[in-house]
């Protein structure tokens, strides 16, 4: 069976995986990193969004072995121990979650956006989040949170 070497949230892992296994299966079933959620396994909902070498990816549509040696960041690795990333803080303070199931994916999509574009327009935020479905909030507070995070990050802040 093929061997996968992968870094997740700063920690190196070596594990044996199926050829067809998704990154989502590896994260959840092998490593028990449960921030990325199983919402559809067809790439439609975005609840499993993670960063692979800095790029936003669907963990469910990412063949694990195809990202051999990659650096993966999930919501658990965004803030660091005991600290909230400004995006996490902004989501919390802006009531941007309701059931919370889409939130880890939303935070990763927001991070991918702000890493590339620290000062996005509302339309750019909406485009960046277009692949992350939320059935609870109507996206209003999520968009507000991303704007808030962008502003706070421009002024350097956001510890827990």
């Amino acid at each position: 069976m093929p061997l996968l070497e992968i870094k997740v949230n700063g920690r190196d892992h070596q594990l044996v995986v199926d050829a067809t296994a998704s990154l989502l299966t590896v994260l959840r079933e092998h490593l028990h990193i449960t921030g990325p959620k199983v919402g559809c396994e067809t790439g439609d909902c975005g609840a499993c969004s993670v960063l692979v070498d800095g790029k936003l990816r669907r963990a469910c549509l990412t063949n694990a072995l195809s990202v051999q040696g990659a650096d993966v960041v999930t919501v658990e690795g965004v803030g660091g121990s005991g600290r909230l990333h400004p995006i996490q803080k902004a989501f919390y303070e802006n009531h941007a979650s309701q059931c919370g199931f889409c939130t880890p994916g939303m935070i990763m999509a927001s991070k991918a956006l702000l890493d590339e574009n620290p000062n996005p327009t509302e339309m750019e935020i909406k485009e960046a989040l277009a692949g992350n479905l939320c059935r609870c909030t109507g996206y209003i507070n999520i968009i507000r949170a991303v704007k808030d995070a962008a502003e706070k990050m421009a002024h350097g802040g956001g510890d827990r």
């Binding site: 909902c45 609840a47 919370g100 935070i107 059935r135």
Partner: protein, 454 residues
């Protein structure tokens, strides 16, 4: 005294868990030795099971248990009518109805085991259109008939006043039909159940349900302690449980759900996961795929509604007659309750001296419908509010004006003859008019929800 907590926008109690990924949902719980569950579902809309052979599936390496109707201690359940089977025994009434279920080491093996089950179903003619199903010669979804009887009537009747007298006072009759389609709740978390046999012959179910105690009673019945059930604990059950499980033998663990909107009210996954846990003595997890969720979970019922209103030239609704047909799908589920709630409120938030509502539950060969945000009132509001604009158009009147003339006030009655208090419709509409800058005639701006003069 000034309020310190109530009325304040405190942060969400579990908000930090959401943003850090620490919040745990059922699928995030891992119990060592957990088996994966998959169900064999009916490939036809309507049929009779002629043969069900699980012997090959049971022998597949990695399979721990296969259950069929024969394994279910009490194979009828339902909140209102005990008409649904956990696993179909003979008749299948909708495509996707579970027939057998497998617990295996992996999802892949469970899926392979499903392919090894020998299933022979004699197809029968299904019926999908409730209007067709209501006809006497329509194929029968259920032997007792396609329309749910309410007492001796094929509909729920709710009326107040004298509808014919009302129509006699009318200058215009406005009659229209409305259709409200079926929707999926589409929460981001699908149905998940993890059933874990515990110490002391207890069973813990990690559940996504919206009402733990609500569902617990259903599960208790299925597992063999229904009031009117003679215990039929199958010998095929290998695990050393006592003869039956009661209310206190089952522990539901839940309370944190990834969205529901009504879709996690019915018994979707818990029954089969529990039965397989008992059968195998191992923890069993059944996570529905999104496809299963889309195709087979309870959904919004399609509704057809007819409004016939008698109105006067000056814009008063003097008679409103509503007939609604609720497409329940193949089993009752919560339908009779939905239809009652619909009947109570479909006529809308208006003063209606003469109102009559008839509402039928009709069975068809589709997935049973269930609770959803708005529970029967949603299609009512939809039809009523379009009808109001259609009346306004007929009378050449501003739709705002028509609503101000007829808006409910304190002391007005529902169709159920219930008197209302804390009515605030006129005030709410006035506020909206202000927010959207809609000019209001002084006489409407002066209206309040104070009781109308007799």
């Amino acid at each position: 005294m000034t309020l310190k907590n109530v009325g304040k926008s405190k942060p969400r109690y579990n908000g930090l868990g959401h943003v850090t990924g620490e919040a745990r949902y059922v699928d995030d719980i891992f119990v060592p030795g957990t088996l994966a569950v998959k169900a064999l579902r009916s490939p036809v809309h309507k049929g009779i099971i002629r043969k069900l052979d699980i012997s090959k599936a049971e022998k597949l390496p990695g399979v721990y248990g296969v259950i069929t109707a024969a394994d279910v201690p009490c194979n009828t359940y339902g909140y209102l009518t005990l008409d649904q089977a956990v696993l179909a025994d003979k008749a299948v009434r909708f495509m996707g109805e579970p027939i057998a279920a497998v617990a295996a080491d992996t999802v892949e093996i469970a899926n392979e085991a499903l392919d090894l089950i020998g299933l022979d179903i004699e197809q029968q003619t299904p019926v999908f259109d409730p209007l067709e199903a209501m006809k006497p010669d329509a194929p029968k979804v259920r032997p007792e008939g396609n329309v749910l009887m309410v007492g001796n009537r094929p509909y729920r009747l709710v009326y107040n006043g004298d509808i014919e007298k009302g129509f006699a006072q009318a200058d215009e009759i406005v009659e229209n039909e409305f259709f409200f389609p079926s929707q999926e709740h589409a929460p981001m978390e699908t149905q998940v159940s993890l059933a874990v046999p515990e110490n002391n012959s207890r069973l813990t179910i990690y559940t996504v349900t919206q009402g733990m105690y609500f569902l617990l009673k259903q599960l208790q019945r299925i597992l063999g302690q229904g009031d009117d059930v003679s215990h039929r604990w199958s010998e095929r059950m290998q695990y050393s449980f006592r003869g039956h499980l009661g209310f206190c033998d089952i522990k539901y663990v839940g309370g944190n759900v990834g969205g529901a909107f009504g879709g996690k009210t019915e018994l979707h996954a818990d029954g089969i996961a529990a039965l397989l846990a008992l059968k195998t003595g191992r923890p069993c997890k059944w996570r529905w795929t999104r496809e299963e969720e889309m195709l087979y979970s309870a959904r919004h019922s399609p509704w057809r509604m007819t409004f016939k209103d008698g109105v006067t030239k000056d814009g008063r609704i003097v008679a409103r007659k509503v007939f609604s047909v609720h497409d329940a799908g193949a089993y009752t589920g919560l339908s009779s309750y939905v239809v009652d709630k619909h009947a109570f409120y479909v006529a809308g938030p208006y003063y209606l001296p003469n109102v009559e509502v008839k509402c039928s539950v009709v069975y068809t060969n589709r997935v049973p419908t269930g609770a959803i945000r708005g529970f029967g009132v949603t299609p009512g509001t939809y039809a009523c509010e379009i009808q109001m604009n259609m009346i306004a158009e007929r009378l050449g009147m501003d739709p705002w004006e028509l609503r101000f003339i007829n808006a409910m006030r304190n002391g007005d009655q529902l169709a159920t003859r219930t008197k209302l208090e804390s009515v605030y419709l006129l005030e709410t509409m006035k506020k909206l008019a202000e927010v959207v800058n809609h000019p209001l005639d002084e006489k409407y701006a002066a209206l309040t929800s104070d009781p109308r003069e007799a």
